[in-house]
Symmetry: C2
Subunit: 264 residues, 2 copies
């Protein structure tokens, strides 16, 4: 019940912003722009400042913050041309949110276009803790080291925005896009590969790997992990990642029970 009381406070706050220092919280320029120019918060409205690692406190936007920025000045820039943040005034105690009982991982094959961004947004909303973009043998996308870093930065920004919107006190970790074989070394042992004809998840499942539209390469399927079937119809790769996340999340919260010993 205490957990639910916390959730209600988080939900009722006008916004959540991730800050570096909860003792002297400052909304970064982009966040300040969002609070002041998009949401147009009044000084008496409560926002939550959160460190992204489970600790948060209620704050107010200081009245003097962003003065001169409300009248159509460019995004994240003060009238003198420099980006500016917004100081937040703590009005509530430091609160530590309960750590989830166990972290959940979804790895998904990178696709072209902005679908990885969409997938990261949804996985973050649903509560996945580790998000791993995979480069599989049949992944159409080829990324050099710099490009991987750039894509990871972009996906982390998406996760941060989605985390704030969905009031997540623990931000997910988004890995750099990584080759399937390298990812295997780091994934928890209770990982399953999504594949038609596989079994069900079981109560110990902690991670699901979702392949590209073209399917896994047979060498990847032979990696030794169990297989999970995500449903009777053919799912697009992004839908499959979401369904996996929804089932893992619901099992963790107790909303559903996973049958024992069904994964193949």
């Amino acid at each position: 019940m205490e957990r639910y009381g916390q959730l209600q406070k988080l939900r009722r706050a006008a916004a959540l912003v991730y800050v570096a220092d909860l003792d002297a919280p400052v909304a970064a320029p982009d966040d300040a722009h969002h609070l002041l120019d998009v949401l147009r918060l009044r000084p008496d409205e409560v926002v939550v400042a959160c460190d992204g690692r489970g600790t948060w406190r209620a704050c107010r936007v200081r009245a003097e913050s962003g003065s001169g920025r409300r009248r159509g000045t460019p995004r994240g820039r003060a009238v003198d041309g420099h980006p500016t943040g917004a100081e937040l005034e703590p009005v509530g105690p430091l609160t530590v949110a309960a750590q989830p009982s166990h972290p959940l991982t979804v790895a998904f094959a990178m696709t072209k276009g902005d679908r990885p961004e969409w997938t990261v947004q949804k996985l973050t909303e649903i509560g996945v803790d580790h998000i791993v973009p995979l480069l599989t043998r049949r992944t159409v996308v080829r990324l050099g080291p710099q490009e991987r870093e750039r894509r990871a930065d972009k996906l982390r920004r998406v996760a941060r925005e989605a985390g704030a919107q969905s009031r997540r006190t623990h931000l997910p970790e988004v890995a750099e896009p990584v080759a399937f074989e390298r990812a295997l070394e780091r994934l928890p042992s209770a990982s399953l590969v999504a594949e038609p004809g596989g079994g069900f998840m079981d109560p110990g499942t902690r991670a699901v790997l979702v392949g590209p539209e073209g399917g896994w390469d047979p060498a990847e399927l032979a990696c030794g992990l169990g297989r999970v079937d995500l449903g009777p119809s053919v799912l697009r790769a992004d839908t499959a990642a979401l369904v996996a996340a929804a089932l893992l999340g619901a099992a963790r919260s107790g909303a559903v029970l996973l049958p024992a010993g069904r994964a193949r």
Copy 2:
């Protein structure tokens, strides 16, 4: 196992097309365009013709179909300027897919833009049988009778495309956008309203109603239906509809178990 054998055949087919008559199957012009110009099927490739009500058969595209259309002629038009379909040649027996044990319903508040299309696409992929776009008190979208019909037509086209892509032998019914109170009259009694702080789904749950971003109006929440909480974080409306569908679908297939007597 017979069911799984059927699924494999459906999955392996180069495409699934919905046809009016399984004894003399003809792909409609748009579908013919997709088969011949987009997928560029060769005459020996097998497609599935399906009536959308559970019966299907393997077919080949007749060699003479679409002659003259492959070289950049406009979508769905033959060289003489008239739209043309493609005759399909049955090569397998009529097969009746198992009816799902019970139909699943997801109703969701209409939003602006193309998010309803996206939601219908995903709900169709996941296997929802009745999709009901809702006009709630806080729904921003206002639709007159003609506009409702037009939107329903669009959403049904989306469901048809998603159904073909995901190899659904039973096409979902997509209702015309309908006022919340009217929808209540037609929904199964085992329907739950998605709302933070609600309970879990139980094994009897057959339908979930998802409200708009602004939430339900108190009068709507007082409609007498139980409430279901879809997870500890704040979900966007479209994500909530998907999570509800994933849980209902997984419970129907036995992939997860719903706890008894937890809905409030």
